[in-house]
Amino acid sequence: MTAPALARPGFVERAAGVSDSARWLGRLMLAPAVLYIALVVAVPFLMAIGYSFSNVTIGTSTPRFVGLENFRNALQDPAFLKALGNTAIFSLVSQTLVIVLASILAIALQRRFRGKWLVRLLILLPWVAPISLGSIGWLWIFDPVYSVINWTLRHVGILGPDSWPIWLGQPNLAMASIIGVHVWRTMPLATIISLGGLSSIPQDIHDAAEVDGAGFFRHLFVITLPLVLPILLVAVLFGLVFSVTDMIVVYVLTRGGPFDSTQVLASLAFFKSIDGGDLSGGAAVALFLLPVLAVCAVLLLRLARRAEVV
């Protein structure tokens, strides 16, 4: 889109006004990235929307427009409704836990102590390591026969001789387990983001609170938390986006089982479309995520804009 303008005669003369030539150079430098993103993100995105209104499967060559049929089918499918509910539970519970735990951890990490770099490295590991591999680690920890959790609980006397929970094999426990793994995996990001927010509070504010004799909790709830709130919100929004769209933890640990009790929208879309060949049905399921993503995106933009005005 920029090439014809460059070729126009008199370009160089007009370019003497630096801003004009800079603008064209800018477009030229930006174009490849924008085109690539259009090709591998925007086009497939529109295709996904198209699929959801058609009857395309892995086999069909001439898809037909079917209107809202896929969405209607999804809403009447108990497996879908189950996955919708599971996605809500999985995301809301895990992110609530993450925010509370990450705030506590970030406040604890504010102190200076020796070996802090090592603690930071270890705390970040779950987020930095590929989650498919981390989840395999948990698969072994949750093993039905050799679970180290069960062994420990029994030997400290919490588990009686007759109880031996099968972490990934019982519906409620399986949901609790994948939530636990997801908390483990997303907490580092929220912690580091909160820590950044905490350290950007000017020291005078803390000093003033100290002088006024505010106790630890008063200081925390009246001063610290309100000031960190905007950045905590950023952490929540990213956490939500990563949670509602994640299928890796579920795929590796439970494949959605037992009895679909841990099936989420993302994993259902995968099993429907790739394993089952129903591309349009899978696309419709995945697109139910869109409203959540759109709300998160709008809120993130709001936060960004507000910060710019300040």
Partner: protein, 281 residues
Amino acid sequence: MADPKKIAGGVVNFGVIAAFTGFAAFPFAWMVITMFKQTKDLLDPAHNPFVYNAPPTLEHLRVLFQDTLFLHWVGNTLFVGVLVVLITLVLAVPAGYSLARLTGPAGEKLGIGIFLTYLVPPTILFIPLSRLVALLGLQDRLWALVLVYPSFTVPFCTWLLMGFFKVIPKDVEEAAMIDGHSRLGAFVRVILPMSVAGLLTTIIFSFTLVMQEFVYGLTFITSSKNLTLSVGVPTFLVRGDVYFWGSLMGACFLSSVPIAILYNLFVDRFIAGFTVGAVKG
């Protein structure tokens, strides 16, 4: 001097940090313990799992390196990683500079738009992309991953690099341009050499994002020899009912921890990328 309240606070603080660090690191510690344990020691419910009841062994690692496709997957991951890093640099470096300096207020909006594409998840894109990959004849080939992975590395790295270039004072280019460089020349000869940290960060992030990716790899690649580590280890080392836990844990540990340590050196810049705009300064 010794205020009991302060001491109690310190103890609580230490306890909190110790508990969280334990939670975060435990699965990795468990991988290390498991990968050197003899199978008969691992698979005896009466054994204390925290100690070596039989002498440690390197047998699991030997199996992993000699009898599985592990090294093959390492090679595939490096191949895809290096190409994706190159594509990302070629696309994101000029785009980031352009958004930081050349496009004005419109660029600001476009930059946010590019960043938002990072929020469109593979979960929505993998279905149509699998069709595109098939159309191009790339099913079950590493080139499919090389083509698709920049879809998430480019938006994020463009955003990240934009932040980097914005921090460089404008006088730097102006001085270079007075010295006779063109705008482009100033960018290549003066700005890029100043941005080594930013470029290095981009390289590390693109590479780790490639290492972490799972959904596309699972969707586009079908034969075991063409897999990358993040998909090959959890799918092909776990086929069937027999789990070779020692080798499996060895594979997980060896392919996650080194990259994690490397990444850790750059993580602050990554976080800055996430929160830019939301916090100033």
